[in-house]
């Protein structure tokens, strides 16, 4: 069975239902709107470029076992291994990857979200606070008192 998806800029994609259902949101919508499948499902905050990439990802991973997302963030489980295909998939520019992460998040494509998190972590890794601020355009908004506190923290948090 096929499902049609419409990106925010109006492009329509037709994919297998099982591929689209890697998105938790779409899966839920398909349950609710079972009767009304003539219209494409609108994805208001996913552009065509990103959507194409998300679909590419879902096509490749259509047969993967679903991952359990409800574990504690500090769980001692090993992080998910990236296979070669995933590595190839993440060779895109940062902006694209961040857009993809947002798309994966809004569509709730969990394995892709995990992949994106891993990618983001790899970028942030070894960056200084200043570099992180520059990258994400965040202001340093610490008050002088907080700044003092942070100096203290520096002392005991380093290894």
């Amino acid at each position: 069975m096929k499902v049609t998806l419409e990106s925010s800029d109006g492009q329509v994609f037709t994919v297998d239902k099982e591929v689209a259902e890697l998105s938790v949101i779409i899966k839920e919508m398909l349950v609710i709107e079972q009767a009304n499948q003539d219209h494409p499902i609108p994805l208001l905050n996913v552009g065509a470029v990103e959507l194409a990439k998300v679909i590419e990802y879902c096509e490749h991973h259509r047969n993967d076992p679903t991952i359990d997302d409800d574990e504690d963030y500090d769980s001692r489980k090993k992080p998910i291994e990236m296979d070669d295909w995933d590595k190839q998939f993440t060779i895109v520019n940062k902006e694209m990857m961040f857009e993809l992460i947002l798309a994966a998040n809004s569509m709730q494509v969990k394995p892709l979200l995990h992949l994106g998190c891993r990618y983001a972590a790899d970028i942030v890794k070894r960056m200084s606070p200043t570099e992180i601020r520059d990258l994400f355009q965040i202001d340093d908004d610490f008050t002088p008192e907080e700044q003092d506190k942070i100096e203290w923290e520096k002392q005991w948090t380093k290894l």
Binding site: I25, P42, L43, L44, N45, V46, D69, D70, E71, D72, Y73, D74, P79, F98, I101, L102, N105, S106, M107, L113, H114, G116, C117, R118, A120, A121, D122, V124, K125, R126, M127, S128, P129, I132, R133, F136, I138, D139, D140, D141, F142, T143, E146, I150, W152, E153, K154, Q155, W156, T157, K158, L159
Partner: protein, 562 residues
Amino acid sequence: MLGQRGVSTPSRSTLNLIHTGWQPPPSKSFQVTRYLERDSLAHCSRVSAQWHQLFNPLLWHKVLFRVPQDFSRQGYLVKTLDLHLGNIPAEQRDHIRHCCLHLRTVHLHFQLLSPLVLHQLFEPTAQNGFVGQSIESLEIYVTEFSVIPLILPWLIFVRRAGYLESLQRLTLGNGQALGEKQQVNVEDVLEYLRVFPTTRMLCFRRIPIGESCHDFVLEKVRGEYGNDDKTRKEVGGKEHNNNDQVDEKQHKQQPLQKLGPTLIETYPLKDLDIYPRTISVLSCLLQKTPDLDKLYIRKIGDPEILPIIQQACPKLRNFRYVGKGNSNSSSSSDLGEFGWQTFFPNYPWMESLHFENTLVVDRTLHTVSEYCSRYLRYLTLFMGTKVCTTTLLQVLQSCTALECLRCTTHAISGDLFHHTNRWACLESLQRIQQLPRLETLSIRGSGFMIEALLDQDDLCSTTTAGSKETFMEDDSLPCLSFSTLLSPPPSPSSLSRLCYKMLKDITMPKFEHKVITLQKLKALLESMPRVEYINFHDGYDEEAREWLRVHRPNLDMGVNVW
């Protein structure tokens, strides 16, 4: 309908934190942190006030070595504590144990620990995080020995008072050379197991475990060792007196009773690290722990341990044996030969083997490669190895699951990578390359040739040894872009092959000359895409060293090569 971008994005978003307008998402969806090390988390917490709110609690999960001043607000977050508590003033210690009530893993180090302080730190009260119900793992290291025998009885007392209910792993350690009489009594160990029946790991490191009434005459009569009846004490059902005055070391001695195997109470212990003073100590412990998965035996030089282990622990998958070494007495090796040939056939599922300070001969390894080849992943031969090249090759050939081979030896008989033994060298490499999972390779011997690691196609156009290299370059490697001088037409087979796909650590013996040229180095690194640690001592020539410094500053070289 899906939400509009940028407008009150859902709180589950992981990357919302990165774009504007985010709120700290609920922790369970916050997966980025899973992939970040502590120092990265620390950096993130210093980005902005909001990032601080998000990341700072994560930093509190572990307090390692450096102590924050004030635990009163975040102490409840601390799960792992690793401190040199001996250097911390008493008030601060109390502050810590009163504030950190959700500890899971506690490692404490002391130079000196008085019994009084031991009792105070592990005082069985609800306000004491050090005896909390969430504690799963406890490690106590005291350099000075005297308090160590008191620790088990005190923990038993604490547990009987209703604390430390989740404790599963205990490690005790000290830093002193110990005399004949300094030991922990096996009776205390057994009592500990009885009171903490769900213990999964017990680790005593170099602390000797002995019998409370140490009979030195018996120790000299070696013939008595195997005879459990004479030395083992009946320990079941003994009433243990646990009051504050735990310095009582005298245990009631009761006449021995023969216990049938069915009557022996057993415990689900998985992991034991022990230096047993006598065979009977080992025997009476192992009889109660039939589920042992890991066994680490130290210093007892008696071959009789093997039949005992074999009989008592049918489920072993990890075995480490560290012998006495030769420093003790010249006769230590005269005790008789270890019967590895009859031992290993019982353990076809063995995953990890470690021999140290004990004689390992060809026959031993033949047995290993014959019977444990299927699942063996780690093999370490450290000090005392006397094996020849062919034997090591046999191991490499038969143990296809091998991930880690360390053979640190000064007495390798035969030359694994010796240039005079070219055949062995190439042969061994082919074996290594056939081990798809090998992650660590560490060999020390003499006369190692760098060519041994590189496939002939990589360095030599013909099989004639020592010829000038024709070097393959892979243009996709950014590090190679500046040297465009040598690029012979790559043979497809050579480019597609990554010989050491999974190799992360590699250590090789010292070279006599600075044999690693830049070309060889690059070819090596290319064949090891995952390498993180590469130790060739100072075998690099100037050019190679300079290139490493500039292009691979993060590669761990083991020694300071520049």
